[in-house]
C-alpha cells in the first residue's frame, strides 16, 4: 500500500441533509477532529479507501445554505473552497442534497459548481422517495446540471459504494459552470470583472469581491486590487440579490422537467407533531419534562460510574503508595498524577450523558422547535431563542456552549449569551457541589419521594439559571451595542435519530473535553502536588523543629508524625499562599487550607476537590488514604473545635462556586470569540464580586 495517492475530498451541504451520516459511513472510526488554523472551528476529517491505489482524505465542512457565510463556521466553507493554498483545498467536492427539498439544496450546488472544482451531487434519503411520492429523472437531471449524480441513503448505507466508484473517476467530471451569472445580471460589469481578475474563474472573482472580509488568506496586493474594483457597494449588494434570484430561476427551470412530487402522498406527521410540540401549553410542558428528564438522568445514571471512578482512583493511589519504593517519584504518582487523572475521568459519565441528550434533541429536529418556542421569552432577557442551546450545553461545559452561540446572528444577543453562560451549572461544579452537599446536607427523604440532597442540587441548578437570566436582563439594559438583527431558522423534518450519528457525536464531544480541559486539570494537579511538597526553610527543617516544641514533648511517634506533616503543609509553598489570602477569605468562613483549594481552583473549579484531597493526603502521610469525603468530614476547625465543613461554611462555599468565574478555559474562549479582553475581564470581576458577597452574606447569617 505504499505510494498510495491521496485525494482531498470536501463534503458540503445544507444542514439536516444527512451529510454527517454520510461522513460517518465513509470514514467510520478513522475520523479525527482537529482545528482549522487560527480559529476554533472543529475540523472533522478522516480517511476513506476508494480503491487499492487511491485513498480519500475527507473533510466534513460545516453545514451551510449558501457559500456566502453568515457565521464563523460557515466561513470555513468559503475559505476551504477559495484558498488554493489551504491544506484541505479539495480535488473534488461532494455536495450532499436531500431529496425532499432538492430545490434549495441545489442553490448551494450551483454556487459550488460555478467555482469549477470537480463536483458531484449526492442526493441523500433516496430511500424515502417512493413513500413521499417523489420521482426524479436522474438522466435528464445529470444533463441539465452538467454533473454526475448518485442516489444514496447514508443511514441505510446504500449507494455509498457507487459514490466511491465515481470518486475514483473525478478527473473526468464535467467542470463547466451551471449558472452563467454574467449575462443575466449586468454583462458589462461582469465582463470587466472577468478581465480584471484573469487568474480566477469569474464566480471566484465575484466571491472575492462580495466576501472579501471573510477571505483572510488574501495578500495585501490582492486586497488592493479588489478594493480598487469595489467602488459601488450598493450595486454589489443589489447584484447579489439578483444572482440568488437568477440561480433559483435556473434551478426551477431544470426541476420543472426532472423532478415530480405527488402531493397526495405527503404525510402530515410534521404538522401533527408540530401542533403538539409548539402548542402554547403542551409545548412548554413537554419542554419542561424533557429538561427534567435530562437532569434526572444525568444524576441517576452518572452517579454509579462516578463513584466507581472515584473509589478506583483512591485505591490506585493507595496501591501505588504501598507497592512502589518510597521516594519523590512515588509521591508524584500517588499524590499528583493518579488523583489528577481521576479528577479528569470523573467527568466522563455526566458529559457523555448530557451530550447524548443534546445530540438526540438535535438529531430528531426537536431542538428547532424549542428555539421557536423560547425565542420571544429569551428576547425579553436580551437573548435569542437560539441561546437555549448554549444554555443547555453550558450544563455540561461552558466552552462548547460558548462556541455553540456562534449561530446567533445578532451580536448583542450573542454577546449576552456568551457572558451569562458561565453561570449555568457546568459539570466542573458538580464534584464540588456533590462533596459539599454530602458533607452538610443530611440524606433524608422529604415529601416521601424527594431526597433532600437531590433537592439541594436542583436548587443550585435553578440558582445558576436565575443568575444567568438576571445578569442577562442587567446586561441588556446597560450594554449599548448596536447590531442588525435577523433571526431565521430552518424547521427541519422530524427524524428518528441515527444511533451511529449520536454515538460519534458523544464520543467526539467527550473526547474533545477530556483532551482540552483534561490537560489543564492534570497539569494543575501536578503543579499543586509540587507546591504542596516543597517549601521554604521552615518546611525543610520540620522534622528537626517540630519535636523540639514543648507542646509536642509528650506525643507518641504517630501523633508526632501527624504534627510534622501538618507543619510541613503549612510551610510549603502552597501553604504560604493559602496563609497569605486567609485574611481575605476568613469572613467567608474559610481557613488557609480551603484558601489553597480556592487558589488552585481559580483556573478550573473541579480542582477544588482534588486540591483538598491532595492537601489532606499530604497531611495524612503514611495513613490510610480513604476517600476524599471521609478526609474532609474529619477536618476540624482549630478555632471553634467544630467540624470545618459545617453548614455555614458549606453553604458559603456552595454559593461561592455557584457564582465565581473559575475557569481559564472559558476565559480564553470568551476572549477568542469576542476578540477583546474587556468581556472576559468583566466576567471575571463581576462574577467574582457576586460570589464573594453571596458567600459572605450566607456565612454570616448561618454561622
Amino acid at each position: 500500500m505504499k505510494n498510495n495517492a491521496v485525494l482531498n475530498v470536501a463534503l458540503v451541504g445544507n444542514p439536516n441533509t444527512g451529510k454527517t451520516s454520510l461522513f460517518n459511513q465513509l470514514t467510520g472510526l478513522k475520523q479525527k477532529v482537529g482545528n482549522y488554523p487560527g480559529i476554533t472551528v472543529d475540523k472533522k476529517h478522516g480517511k476513506c479507501k476508494i480503491s487499492d491505489e487511491l485513498t480519500a482524505e475527507i473533510v466534513d465542512l460545516p453545514g451551510t445554505y449558501s457559500i456566502n457565510p453568515q457565521t464563523l463556521d460557515e466561513t470555513i466553507v468559503l475559505e476551504t473552497l477559495l484558498n488554493t493554498n489551504n491544506e484541505s483545498y479539495p480535488d473534488a467536492v461532494i455536495v450532499v442534497a436531500e431529496v425532499e427539498n432538492l430545490k434549495r439544496n441545489l442553490l448551494l450546488f450551483s454556487q459550488i459548481k460555478d467555482l469549477q472544482i470537480p463536483t458531484i451531487l449526492a442526493i441523500n434519503m433516496s430511500d424515502q422517495m417512493e413513500r413521499k411520492g417523489i420521482d426524479i429523472d436522474i438522466a435528464a437531471l445529470k444533463t441539465a446540471l452538467k454533473t454526475e449524480i448518485v442516489l444514496i441513503s447514508s443511514r441505510k448505507n446504500k449507494g455509498i459504494d457507487i459514490l466511491k466508484n465515481e470518486l475514483a473517476n473525478y478527473k473526468n467530471w464535467n467542470t463547466e459552470t451551471l449558472a452563467n451569472i454574467s449575462t443575466k445580471i449586468d454583462a458589462k460589469y461582469f465582463k470587466e470583472l472577468e478581465t480584471t481578475f484573469l487568474e480566477n474563474s469569474l464566480y471566484k472573482s465575484w466571491l472575492l469581491i462580495t466576501q472579501q472580509e471573510y477571505c483572510l488568506f488574501l495578500t495585501e496586493e490582492q486586497n488592493n486590487k479588489i478594493n480598487a474594483f469595489k467602488t459601488d457597494i450598493e450595486k454589489i449588494k443589489k447584484y447579489q440579490h439578483k444572482e440568488t434570484i437568477f440561480r433559483y430561476q435556473r434551478i426551477n427551470e431544470i426541476l420543472k422537467t426532472t423532478y415530480k412530487i405527488d402531493k397526495s402522498k405527503a404525510t402530515d406527521l410534521r404538522s401533527k407533531l408540530d401542533s403538539v410540540l409548539t402548542h402554547k401549553i403542551w409545548g412548554y410542558v413537554i419542554f419542561a419534562v424533557v429538561l427534567l428528564l435530562i437532569f434526572q438522568s444525568i444524576f441517576e445514571w452518572a452517579s454509579f460510574p462516578m463513584d466507581l471512578i472515584d473509589s478506583v482512583f483512591a485505591n490506585l493511589s493507595e496501591l501505588a503508595k504501598t507497592n512502589l519504593p518510597e521516594g519523590v517519584f512515588t509521591n508524584l504518582i500517588a499524590e499528583g498524577i493518579i488523583p489528577g487523572i481521576g479528577g479528569v475521568l470523573i467527568f466522563i459519565p455526566q458529559i457523555a450523558i448530557l451530550f447524548l441528550f443534546i445530540s438526540l434533541l438535535e438529531e430528531t429536529g426537536y431542538m428547532s422547535r424549542v428555539v421557536f418556542l423560547m425565542d420571544k421569552i429569551m428576547r425579553k432577557f436580551g437573548m435569542s431563542g437560539k441561546s437555549i442551546i448554549p444554555l443547555i450545553s453550558g450544563t455540561a461545559c461552558a466552552i462548547p456552549a460558548i462556541m455553540a452561540s456562534r449561530n446567533i446572528s445578532n451580536w448583542k444577543e450573542r454577546l449576552i449569551t456568551i457572558l451569562v453562560v458561565p453561570f449555568t451549572t457546568c459539570s466542573a461544579r458538580l464534584p464540588v457541589y456533590a462533596i459539599l452537599i454530602a458533607l452538610i446536607i443530611p440524606s433524608k427523604r422529604v415529601f416521601g419521594i424527594f431526597n433532600l440532597q437531590g433537592l439541594t442540587l436542583m436548587a443550585l441548578y435553578l440558582l445558576g439559571f436565575t443568575a444567568a437570566i438576571c445578569s442577562a436582563i442587567l446586561l441588556n439594559n446597560i450594554l449599548k451595542v448596536k447590531s442588525k438583527s435577523f433571526f431565521i431558522i430552518e424547521m427541519p423534518n422530524y427524524k428518528v435519530p441515527s444511533i451511529k450519528n449520536v454515538f460519534y457525536e458523544v464520543v467526539e464531544k467527550t473526547k474533545a473535553f477530556i483532551l482540552g480541559a483534561g490537560k489543564i486539570i492534570l497539569a494543575l494537579s501536578i503543579v499543586l502536588w509540587f507546591l504542596a511538597s516543597n517549601g521554604t526553610s521552615a518546611y525543610k527543617n520540620a522534622e528537626k523543629y517540630v519535636p523540639t516544641l514543648e507542646e509536642n514533648s509528650n506525643l507518641d511517634t504517630e501523633a508526632l508524625q501527624k504534627k510534622i506533616a501538618s507543619y510541613k503543609l503549612e510551610n510549603s509553598y502552597i501553604g504560604t499562599m493559602g496563609k497569605f489570602i486567609e485574611p481575605v477569605i476568613e469572613p467567608l468562613g474559610y481557613d488557609w487550607k480551603i484558601g489553597i483549594a480556592l487558589i488552585s481552583s481559580f483556573a478550573a473549579r473541579e480542582v477544588f476537590v482534588g486540591a483538598l484531597a491532595t492537601i489532606y493526603s499530604v497531611e495524612s502521610e503514611g495513613e490510610d488514604v480513604g476517600t476524599i469525603k471521609e478526609r474532609m468530614g474529619a477536618e476540624i476547625n482549630t478555632k471553634t473545635g467544630l467540624k470545618r465543613f459545617n453548614f455555614a461554611t458549606g453553604m458559603s462555599l456552595l454559593l461561592f462556586y455557584a457564582f465565581a468565574m473559575q475557569c481559564i478555559g472559558t476565559l480564553a474562549i470568551v476572549k477568542r470569540e469576542t476578540k477583546s479582553w474587556k468581556w472576559p475581564i468583566l466576567q471575571l470581576s463581576g462574577m467574582g464580586a457576586l460570589a464573594y458577597i453571596a458567600a459572605f452574606i450566607a456565612y454570616n447569617i448561618l454561622k
Binding site: 427539498n101 442553490l107 434570484i245 433559483y248 410534521r270 420571544k376 431563542g385 431565521i488 424547521m491
Partner: protein, 75 residues
C-alpha cells in the same frame, strides 16, 4: 393591500411581492424566500412571535419584525 407575512392567519397563504433589498438579508433569499413565491403561515409561537412559515419548499421560523417587512398579496 398593505398585507405582509405578519398579517397572515394560521393556514392562510399569499404571494410574496417585490421587497426592498435593503431590509431583507441575503440569507433569507437564499433560503428560498423570493418575490413571486407562495408563502403560508403554519404556526405562530405562543407569545405571538416568531412565525413559522413555509415558503418555496422550505420550512422556516422568522421574527415578526422581519415578516412585517415582506409584502404579500393574500390568496
Amino acid at each position: 393591500m398593505g398585507d405582509t407575512i405578519a398579517s397572515l392567519r394560521i393556514g392562510e397563504s399569499g404571494i410574496i411581492e417585490d421587497f426592498s433589498l435593503d431590509v431583507i438579508p441575503l440569507c433569507l433569499l437564499e433560503m428560498g424566500c423570493l418575490p413571486g413565491k407562495e408563502v403560508s403561515l403554519i404556526q405562530i409561537a405562543p407569545l405571538k412571535d416568531p412565525l413559522y412559515i413555509k415558503v418555496n419548499g422550505s420550512h422556516l421560523a422568522i421574527r415578526k419584525e422581519m415578516a412585517d417587512l415582506i409584502n404579500i398579496t393574500k390568496l
